[in-house]
């Protein structure tokens, strides 16, 4: 009887050991700290979660200025900053053979078992998939963005992606629209592509209704101020809303080449006290800016998975967004109100301000809805 129990115990231990087989995972991308963005924070947080599970994770990226060689981040995350030539927008020159010696050296040295490439814009990630496959290492690729088909840059990038994804064991996309887009661009088997959405850290993004101004309805916009984030739409809608609703205030955070358009609108319509431009907001200060608002406005023209709306919803703001890309899939209909990407969308935003005003009056109801939001995101973790 005792012998049987001992045997059972031993076999269970063996099974347990097999189940928690420790991988040596290598994340490769051109985009990593000190560059701040969606892909960068995704790689970092994914690495932290994998480290917590007991795997070994290293990150390979290109050198940022003086930041060369090996650096260590939280929980022993080893980051290799390789001295490669950067051509445009933090992307390395795609040469294929010049990265082989370095990458092969690192893969052998760290005894890598899985290589995970991120972002189709990153030539380093695509090349690492090639080299890993040559060495018999398993490969995974995550595509974070939507891309077109018609212009010259799209044709070249899609062909490169197709060449890389032939060699991948698995592909991950961040939304269903993203999966369709990747399957069409790279001509990859749909069953090879998994849809795993991004997640938000709800211990950081928590609501705080006491920070809101009860006299106004504050609309928060935090994004890079570039064309594809719909700054033109924003510039069209701000004067209309400010004219019709005297209690509406805008809080705009972020930097970019299109900032000048918003400043122009602000000057032309004398909205200096109604529209506040915060400039670039540090990543750790984003939550503090978000909790000051009642509504979060996202006017992007294209978005695979909009992380900012999830962060805003986690902070208890009502989200108003354009119906593009993967946005309709991300949040349930009561947490996000979708509109068409046109200036006439201002009409819809009017209705939304009315609803928020109503909610503001019923302050108690507003406070009660916030725990419900956090609950949804806690359950999703």
């Amino acid at each position: 009887m005792l012998l049987e129990k001992q045997k059972e115990y031993k076999s269970r231990k063996v099974i347990k050991k097999k189940q928690i087989r420790r991988h040596s995972i290598c994340m490769v991308s051109d985009f990593f700290y000190p560059n701040m963005g969606g892909v960068e924070s995704h790689i970092y947080q994914l690495s932290q979660c994998l480290l917590a599970r007991g795997h070994k994770v290293i990150v390979i990226t290109h050198a940022y200025g003086n930041r060369k060689g090996i650096r260590y981040m939280t929980s022993g995350l080893k980051v290799y900053y390789l001295p490669l030539l950067v051509i445009y927008n933090q992307c390395t020159l795609p040469t294929l053979f010049s990265t082989l010696p370095l990458l092969r050296n690192i893969f052998i040295r760290e005894k890598v078992t899985v290589v995970h490439g991120h972002s189709a814009f990153s030539a380093l990630a695509l090349e690492s998939v090639f080299h890993a496959n040559t060495m018999g290492i398993k490969t995974v690729f995550t595509d974070h963005s939507l891309f077109g088909f018609a212009d010259a840059s799209a044709i070249i990038t899609n062909k490169l992606l197709q060449m890389a994804l032939i060699l991948c064991n698995h592909v991950i996309c961040v939304s269903h629209v993203g999966k369709e887009n990747t399957v069409l661009r790279a001509k990859v088997r749909p069953s090879l592509v998994s849809v795993i959405p991004n997640a938000v850290d709800t211990t950081i993004f928590t609501p705080d209704p006491s920070k809101r101004n009860p006299d106004n309805v504050t609309i928060v916009v935090i994004s890079r101020l570039v064309y594809r984030k719909g700054v033109d739409l924003l510039a069209g809608v701000i004067p209309i809303l400010c004219k019709d609703y005297p209690q509406v205030h805008f809080l705009i955070g972020g930097e970019g080449p299109k900032r000048i358009d918003l400043e122009e609108v602000r000057e032309r319509h004398q909205l200096q006290d109604r529209v506040t431009m915060l400039g670039a907001v540090d990543h750790n200060k984003v939550r503090d800016v978000l909790v000051c608002g009642d509504i979060f406005l996202n006017a992007s023209l294209t978005e695979a998975f909009c992380m900012s709306i999830v962060e805003a919803a986690a902070c208890g703001l009502q989200v108003v967004s354009t119906k593009v890309g993967g946005v309709p899939e991300v949040l349930p209909p009561d947490l996000v109100w979708l509109t068409e990407p046109s200036i006439a969308e201002g009409e819809h935003t009017r209705n939304h301000i009315y609803y928020v005003e109503r909610n503001d009056k019923m302050f108690g109801k507003c406070r009660a809805s916030i725990p419900a939001y956090t609950e949804i995101f806690e359950n999703q973790k």
Binding site: L146, F147, G148, F149, A150, S175, H176, V177, G178, E180, N181, V183, L184, P190, S191, L192, V193, S194, V195, I196, P197, R228, G230, D232, L233, G236, L301, T302, A304, F305, T322, V324, G325, G326, E329, V330, L331, P332, P341, S342, I343, A344, I376, Q380
Partner: protein, 277 residues
């Protein structure tokens, strides 16, 4: 039931492919041209090639002095006046006041001719020191540039009327130095201006408004080109015939064949186009 949402964990695996996969994909084939349309539209290109060939033949005759400059000047001037009157009074239905506009046009013609006469002596000596081979090579290249950038009625990025006319005038200037006399250069300059600057105006009008006229004009120009080339030597005639057949028949056929392979896909991943109200 699988739903296209991300906020709820569904009872399907992550790589599940639903029946509705890619149902939002729109395959827009866009405009497709028929063979007759393609043939008709390439007549503009044929006309331009014929005009260039006629100009080159006139130049060759001027160099070998089989054509006298006075004949060229007088006959081309007469043709211009006839076409101008015909075009302005009968064809151009837009309120064309012959007297006032005619006087202005006459003024600009007189100014241009006097300048041309003055500059023809400078023009003659401009490229005189350059070897003949270089001059011929340069002018051939410039005529090709003129043909490539000419406005044939298509809305393409490559169309640039400025580059086209400039290239043609530059080629004329290059060739002008090979002529024996200033009068010859003046004649070449006049005929060059008429062929490359003035003739596209009525030809474009005919192309847009009178399809039958366009076809007749193309046939007429092709016959004149073939006759002139034939009067030279047979290789030139053969060359011209091959080029014209390729341009006007083979290229449109290939274009129509390639259209079947054209796909313009659109879907929810496209960047939204902002319509400002």
């Amino acid at each position: 039931m699988w739903k296209k949402i991300l906020y709820k964990k569904q009872a399907f695996p992550d790589n599940y492919v639903d029946q509705s996969f890619l149902c939002d994909l729109n395959n827009v084939n866009g405009e497709s041209y028929s063979i007759q349309q393609s043939f008709f539209c390439t007549t503009a290109v044929t006309q331009e090639i014929c005009c260039t060939c006629i100009f080159v033949v006139i130049f060759a005759n001027l160099v070998s002095e089989t054509l006298s400059p006075s004949f060229v000047i007088s006959s081309s001037g007469l043709l211009v006046v006839i076409f101008y009157l015909f075009f302005s009074t009968f064809l151009d239905k837009t309120c064309y006041n012959l007297l006032s506009k005619g006087f202005e046009d006459l003024k600009s013609v007189v100014i241009f001719m006097s300048f041309a006469l003055g500059f023809s002596s400078i023009m003659k000596t401009l490229t005189e020191t350059i070897s003949t081979d270089t001059v011929y090579a340069m002018s051939t290249f410039m005529f090709l540039v003129h043909l490539v950038f000419h406005d044939y009625g298509a809305h393409a990025v490559i169309v640039s009327e400025t580059i086209s006319i400039n290239a043609a005038v530059f080629a004329t200037v290059c060739l002008g130095s090979r002529l024996p006399n200033e009068i010859y250069t003046f004649a070449l300059l006049l005929i060059g201006a008429e062929v490359f600057v003035l003739s596209p105006v009525p030809r474009r009008y005919i192309q847009e408004n009178c399809p039958f006229g366009q076809v007749v004009l193309t046939v007429l120009l092709t016959c004149i080109t073939m006759l002139l080339m034939g009067s030279f030597e047979t290789p030139y005639l053969l060359c011209t015939t091959i080029v014209l057949v390729c341009v006007n028949f083979l290229c449109p056929l290939y274009f129509v064949y390639c259209q079947a392979h054209k796909r313009h896909i659109s879907g929810p991943w496209d960047e939204a186009v902002v319509w400002s109200s």
